[in-house]
Amino acid sequence: MGVAALEPVIALRSVSFAYDGSRVLEEVDLKIAAGEVACLIGPNGGGKTTLLKILLGLLRPTGGDVRVFGLAPERARARIGYLPQRSDLDRDFPVTVLDVVLMGRLNRRLGRSYASTDRRMALSALEEMELTRFASHPFARLSGGQQQRVLIARAVCGEPDLLLLDEPTAHVDALTGRRLLDGLQVLSRRMTIVLVSHDLGFVSPVIDTVVCVNRRVRVHPASELTGEHIRQTYGADICMVLHDREVGHGEAAGRCPEESRGDD
């Protein structure tokens, strides 16, 4: 990773985005270096998901310049792995776990079924998420946390250099969340990761940079983050724990108070 670090993986210059006239993002400047793990935090509707979608080229900014690996986002897609915000996927959808992971290897050639390399990559991604024995299980039968890990395997099985995760720890219990984080730690050795999370105290052991997103964007090294920054971003007091203080596994890490779980 160190060699490629000269050019930032993500470079946003005064990026703005408006949806139906209301400004979601304003004058956002952001640089994320190769190998970095950045966490986007901020209130619901603050623009976190919008920012990720701009990085994927799914949304076009109303102003400013977006570069991912020095390219326009649409052209960088092949190098990006993506975990969408957990929408209500059909509980009865007839697919196996392996089918789902293979979707991460979907390519441009028509009609072709997956090659043996695709299968191998999908299985190794499952192995990394410790889900190998579920490969031929119906996806719908898995627990929420297992499903989330399958979707992460789908995101990484295309061998991306940049991984974008929208709320990977949402709807997942604490124990599963910790396993997820262990998985992320392994992945962070070979790719740049940007994740959206509400549980800052929870993800803090893994992250290098905290990006506070609330229409505007402020970047902090994780170790410098103070309650004042959080107060500015969320507009309210929340309690949190800095990642340079080790918290025993049994103790409850500092948690954000109840946030309004409105529409994002």
Partner: protein, 292 residues
């Protein structure tokens, strides 16, 4: 049933053989496309397309009889109207997010209204009911050729784009991020739906055809683990329903389309019951395993 088999072999009753052949052929397209309709949850779009087909049928009947264009057969009109409706409805479903169901409902009704107006102005005894509910007596040899061609088109296209259709049905957002042109495949799928509808206009009619998209695939989906398994089972169920339906309707002198749909619906209900039993049995088995 023996009576039905004898009738099938009777050279004076070619329409029965044509109807059975059309139904069996169509079951293949319906099993495949219907599975996509069910997992992508677009049966209301499929319903709107099928009803709009009447506009094309009406227009082509009018041209054929009143304007003197003998080549303008109703199936061609149905084909054209189905494709136009698929694109229009697809465009609406992509653009008018907030008011989608309002606009779809309107197109649904307008398509039928236009068709009925054309039929009303067409001289001669054209019975709109035969298009609404199907009439196997009207199937001709030429129809069968068209049906075979459409069937092949639908099946080949669906298999060619299988992985893409699967991806956009399972997780549209992710598919888009993988560079799949979701809008394009959405429209293509709706066009395949339109082609399939035209296949069965004669046998079950445009109102009941929606049941053959959802019921065999829905029944198959109750037990399938993977999409292609669902498709194979849906094809088999479709063939069973069509054959049984034709047999019963012939033996009891009942309209074919409604009989096929009622049989399919009963089978679907039975399927729901069986699945419920299986699930509760599996649960209690799991419970006894956990208990020492």
């Amino acid at each position: 049933m023996i009576e039905f088999l004898r009738a099938l072999a009777n050279p004076d009753l070619p329409f029965l053989r044509y109807a059975l052949l059309a139904g069996l052929l169509a079951s293949v397209a319906f099993g495949i496309v219907g599975s996509f309709v069910v997992v992508r949850r677009i049966s209301s779009l499929a319903g709107a397309i099928s009803h709009s087909v009447l506009a094309g049928i009406g227009a082509s009947l009018y041209l054929q009889v009143a304007a003197g264009c003998p080549w303008c057969r109703p199936l061609y009109g149905a084909l054209a109207a189905g494709l136009v409706a698929a694109l229009a409805i697809g465009w609406v479903s992509l653009r008018a997010r907030q008011r989608e169901d309002t606009v779809i409902g309107a197109l649904w009704a307008v398509g039928m209204a236009v068709g009925l107006l054309f039929i009303a102005r067409t001289p001669g005894a054209v019975d709109p009911l035969s298009f609404l509910f199907g009439n196997i007596l009207l199937i001709s040899r030429a129809d069968l050729t068209l049906i075979l061609a459409l069937d092949a088109t639908v099946v080949i296209a669906a298999l060619l784009f299988y992985h893409r259709f699967l991806a956009i049905s399972f997780d549209e957002e992710f598919a888009r991020a993988r560079g799949i042109r979701v809008e394009l495949y959405h429209l293509l799928l709706l066009c395949l739906i339109a082609l399939s509808i035209v296949l069965l206009v004669r046998v079950v009619g445009i109102i009941l055809v929606i049941g053959l998209f959802t019921l065999p695939a829905g029944l198959a989906g109750l037990f399938a683990r993977r999409l292609w398994q669902m498709m194979l089972a849906a094809i088999a169920w479709g063939m069973v329903f069509v054959t049984l339906g034709l047999g019963v309707s012939y033996a009891r002198d009942l309209p074919t389309g409604p009989v096929i749909i009622v049989i399919a619906a009963l089978a679907y209900l039975a399927g729901l019951l069986v699945r419920r039993l299986l699930v509760s049995r599996a649960r209690s088995a799991a419970a006894t395993q956990i208990a020492p």
